[in-house]
Symmetry: C2
Subunit: 296 residues, 2 copies
Amino acid sequence: MKNIGFIGLGIMGKPMAKNLLKAGYQLIVYDINAEPVKELFEAGAREGTSSQDVASQSEVIITMLPNSPEVREVVLGEKGIIYGVKPGTVLIDMSSITPLTSKELSEKLQQKGVAMLDAPVSGGEPKAIEGTLAIMAGGPKETFDMAKDILEVMGASVTRVGEIGSGNITKLANQIIVALNIAAMGEAMVLATKAGVDPEKVYQAIRGGLAGSTVLDAKMPLVLEGNFKPGFRIELHIKDLMNALDTARELNVPDILSSQVMEIMQSLKADGKAKDDHGGIIQYYEKLAKVEVRKE
Amino acid sequence: MKNIGFIGLGIMGKPMAKNLLKAGYQLIVYDINAEPVKELFEAGAREGTSSQDVASQSEVIITMLPNSPEVREVVLGEKGIIYGVKPGTVLIDMSSITPLTSKELSEKLQQKGVAMLDAPVSGGEPKAIEGTLAIMAGGPKETFDMAKDILEVMGASVTRVGEIGSGNITKLANQIIVALNIAAMGEAMVLATKAGVDPEKVYQAIRGGLAGSTVLDAKMPLVLEGNFKPGFRIELHIKDLMNALDTARELNVPDILSSQVMEIMQSLKADGKAKDDHGGIIQYYEKLAKVEVRKE
């Protein structure tokens, strides 16, 4: 069994690290918050004193951090991974960040003889706890093959989609589709409700046809109850769309609808709803149309 | 068995009328084109000389016309239904039109003792031929109950969603969601492809998660083959979105994303693609991003 370094013990990272411990891996962990580090220590992990320290004692390093700047800091910053890492080590960054950052970091690590995968996840805290995340990985095939056993401890579906950065590209594509499918539901259902039609009947009449989607079946029942508890918070989806738009601009791809739905989310954030579930996007339409899409 | 008048024997109306004949109904038909009238005559229908004439000989009248102006003309115009219709007759308008037109016509017909349903359909020509359309009906419950047997000849799912206009409201909600889900797929997949990731792998990696949809599974395999044969033509989806926007404006509901996706479709129309399947919305993004989302 390999020694695994785990950096970033937040809502997602903590349960993912615990699952690796349970699976029998030796873990050395680091986080800027003492609390989850203590929790992992009590569960059997060793404590690192810095990212550099963790890197110097690991054959595989996993990072699970909020966004690109944090990953860059942990890899390249003061006492960063790059100053401790040995040639032959593998870095698996499971954060959702910009694919361009993944590529940049991979190139810098390669100069130290370190291979990297970008392997963002989908599924949220419940699936992190269960170890049933969907993991979309990019990077060299041989690195992926070597890391697969470790990833499968945390995920139910582990797919290599291409070279480094591809994992995050796939995650961004996923987040664009989810955001727009949720907004589509909001725009359609607010119109129907304002027109006096029972939104539950509309949902039942259309869900079996071409308008059907996982979003509609997952979110519409919650909307009908006015339940916008997260789930996946609007503020996190804003972050993902910001990364999508940055990437699209670098690549000269028009992101016409994604930019619009991000403005809708920003407007909700300004309205104090940043911590609502992204299913709460419908509230933007409800407020403007002065109607609530609820069970009759 | 009731005598049914059928007005509008286009791509959809012709097979729907044929299914009614096969089910044993007496049909009297009318269309401005002689060709389909002849075809129905040969299949056993009688020929009406005008909408007024058809109305005067029918207990139930079905209209299946392109859009609101045509339905208004056939009901209220010269030699229209309203001049021939007897009290107690039922009009089932199965066209996809603005809900406000449905309401207006219903009120005028009510003064003649005529009840009306708006019962637009979803499923396209193949399902019209099979008699397996999804039918979303609005109107008085007793009228719906009376008409249900007739509707079930043409549809596999026949749902009453509310009062008059509700059928078309539901159809508009459906078309908003479908248009935006298709555009979302386009925006996401063009970004992924331009970033160098195989779109087929992205599709496989995300289809089982929250980004999954009927649109993704129905249209993505066709996109990967570059197959944009209709199906449902972009120009018809433009019509539906125009009706959605008109309705939204009347009701003071913001249709931010629908208006944007309609502009995308208008741009495709200007580019000679009006008769492509609506899955071809992705071509808008492909052209701007200079990339094609095809099987590798």
